[in-house]
Amino acid sequence: MKQLVILSGKGGTGKTSVAAAFAHLLSLDDAPLRTVLADADVDASNLELVLSPKISTREALRGGLFAKIDWDTCIDCGICEQVCRFDAIGNVSRPQFYRLAARRVAESDTPTAPIPELPIVDPIACDGCAACVYQCPVDAITMHDQVVGEWFRSESRYGPLFHASLRPAQENSGKLVTLVKQQARLLALDEDYDLVLVDGPPGIGCPVISAVSGADMALIVAEPTAAGVHDMHRVLETTAHFGVQSLVCINKADIYPKGAVEIETSCHKQGVQVVGRIPFDTTVTEAMVQGQSVTRYDPDAPASRALLEVWGRVTPLLQNSGSGDSHFDPNST
């Protein structure tokens, strides 16, 4: 079983459109690989929008621990505020904490009571480290968890899809990515699928590291713009750092042909194979509006033809790719 992750560094280069096209091409009758799909961009999970999934399993992920101070026990010694390194504890003299305290009183059994001059925790700023819990001399602080997001297994038009949605302003996006990928991998192993296709998040940090972990190959969707080239190099360094082989395809290649040449030259120097150019094509957006992959919506569109070629080059390389059972995911513990 192989695992292919689609990445970009910069956002909005077309990762999801490429992933959706591959999912479609993989579902065709003569396709050589049975595939499980995973959307690892849990902040902006868009793959479902073009795969019309029917959710069959849905589970909440709890986490996002935050501290809460019991005002009846608190002696206002100030130690919690001193030990917190995340600026998450303060009292009513600071506006952000005043608002929190006012809301807490308003939602309590005594909504008209005066707002006490005691410390309060900002749950969004709280890192969940619990340092204050252990330092509080009167045990007035306890930790609480919350639902940070949900993950789903769906039956999509192109096979099983694992995806998730993170509650806005929550942490743990890396954990949710890990969870989605683990579930996809387990199904693939249990039911003898050939491929797990992972639509990755932008950037190079925590969720990307989780998305890359265990991949046999990364396909980087680059954009021939000044910003796109800069970010492509950052993501290539990241995949190299974790020992995952990378391929590059250039999307919207004709917007700035000089940039496309620059990408090809620089990839060639680094020994990274460029597997094709996809032209800027408004059919891609039309297909998205219709909730479809571009290759299904209009197989003759310039972008569809190019994607078919790219996929034709990726398949044999993927089948010959290395073992890739690398374990460096910070969220797998």
Binding site: D43, L49, I124, D127, C129, A131, E171, G205, C206, H230
Partner: protein
């Protein structure tokens, strides 16, 4: 005043908007700071062109265990929420990539066997642009998972916060790095493209601003592509549409070459000045759903005028 530019979806034009706004205000003789908080893929410097002559490492304090003093009692491991310090076979081990730098282990160690030592996660670079913008960005080191400390330290570096206007360019998404970038802002300028993907991710970003209690307005970029879903959503929740930038090949090509929006179309500075005035004079309510009506739009981009 701090204005954060955010989006949910990547590649919608956050940096285009943030840099155009910063350049407009700098030319209007305001003191302007511009902070690129997309530390995983910072790009604003391409358009602002600062002289980055100021550098600082971003360090996180992580534990170092003195084996001579350590009795392997396990107190440190017990308080660590992140499994970054564990006791195995009578030895205390630290996993630096998992450590959040909270210092709890050092505080509870009964033998005082733990000291905290800096570990470098990335760097900050800062300097002035030709038009006088006090610019800064952070670069997360390759292989490092934690972007948040880099963003936190960038926002408290140099004298950025003393400027008349601070423009914060946020990373894409709606989780912790975005929260850290947007935190403390007086206004969030959301940028999206009018497509189903753009709409889906705008929802996430707008809900984040509501969660943080910060007023927000929207710029629709690449107007004309896609469908009317974003407009309908804005009407439904009362999110004011402050500007529209049309889908134009000339803009796309110019940005690709590293030209700022004002270099491609200088007349946009009128629309951005009007936008800034609107944000200051008539800030939209925090929760339009409950508190009032949407603001009228500045108008179709370049026609905005002063």
């Amino acid at each position: 005043m701090i204005i954060a530019v955010a989006s949910g979806k990547g590649g919608t034009g956050k940096t285009t908007v943030a840099t155009a706004l910063a350049q407009t205000l700098a030319r209007a003789d305001l003191s302007v700071s511009c902070l690129d908080c997309d530390v995983e893929g910072p790009n604003a410097h391409i358009f602002i062109r600062p002289v980055l002559n100021d550098h600082k490492n971003v360090d996180l304090l992580i534990p170092e265990v003195n084996a001579d003093l350590c009795t392997a009692c396990g107190e440190c491991a017990k308080v660590c929420e992140f499994h970054a310090i564990v006791v195995l076979g009578g030895q205390t081990l630290v996993f630096p990539e998992l450590c959040h730098g909270c210092g709890s282990c050092a505080m509870v160690c009964p033998e005082k066997a733990i000291t905290e030592v800096p570990r470098t996660l990335g760097i900050l670079e800062g300097g002035l642009s030709p038009d006088g913008i006090n610019f800064g960005h952070g670069l997360l080191n390759v292989g490092e998972p934690m972007a948040v400390p880099v963003i936190t330290q960038l926002k408290s570096w140099r004298d950025y916060m003393d400027a008349d206007v601070v423009i914060v360019d946020s990373p894409p998404g709606a989780s912790c790095p975005v929260v850290e970038s947007v935190r403390g802002a007086d206004f969030v300028l959301l940028v999206t493209e009018p497509t189903p993907f753009g709409l889906h991710d705008l929802r996430q970003a707008y809900e984040l601003t509501q969660e943080l209690d910060i007023p927000a307005g929207l710029i629709i970029n690449r107007d004309g592509i896609g469908d009317a879903g974003v407009d309908a959503y804005c009407q439904e929740v009362g999110l004011p549409i402050l500007m529209r930038i049309p889908l134009e090949r000339e803009i796309g090509q110019g940005i690709a070459q590293g030209k700022s929006l004002l270099e491609i179309h200088p007349e946009y500075q009128h629309a951005f000045r009007a936008l800034h005035t609107q944000i200051i004079v008539h800030p939209p309510p925090t929760s339009p759903r409950h508190q009032g009506e949407a603001l009228p739009s500045v108008g179709g981009g370049i026609e905005g005028g002063e």
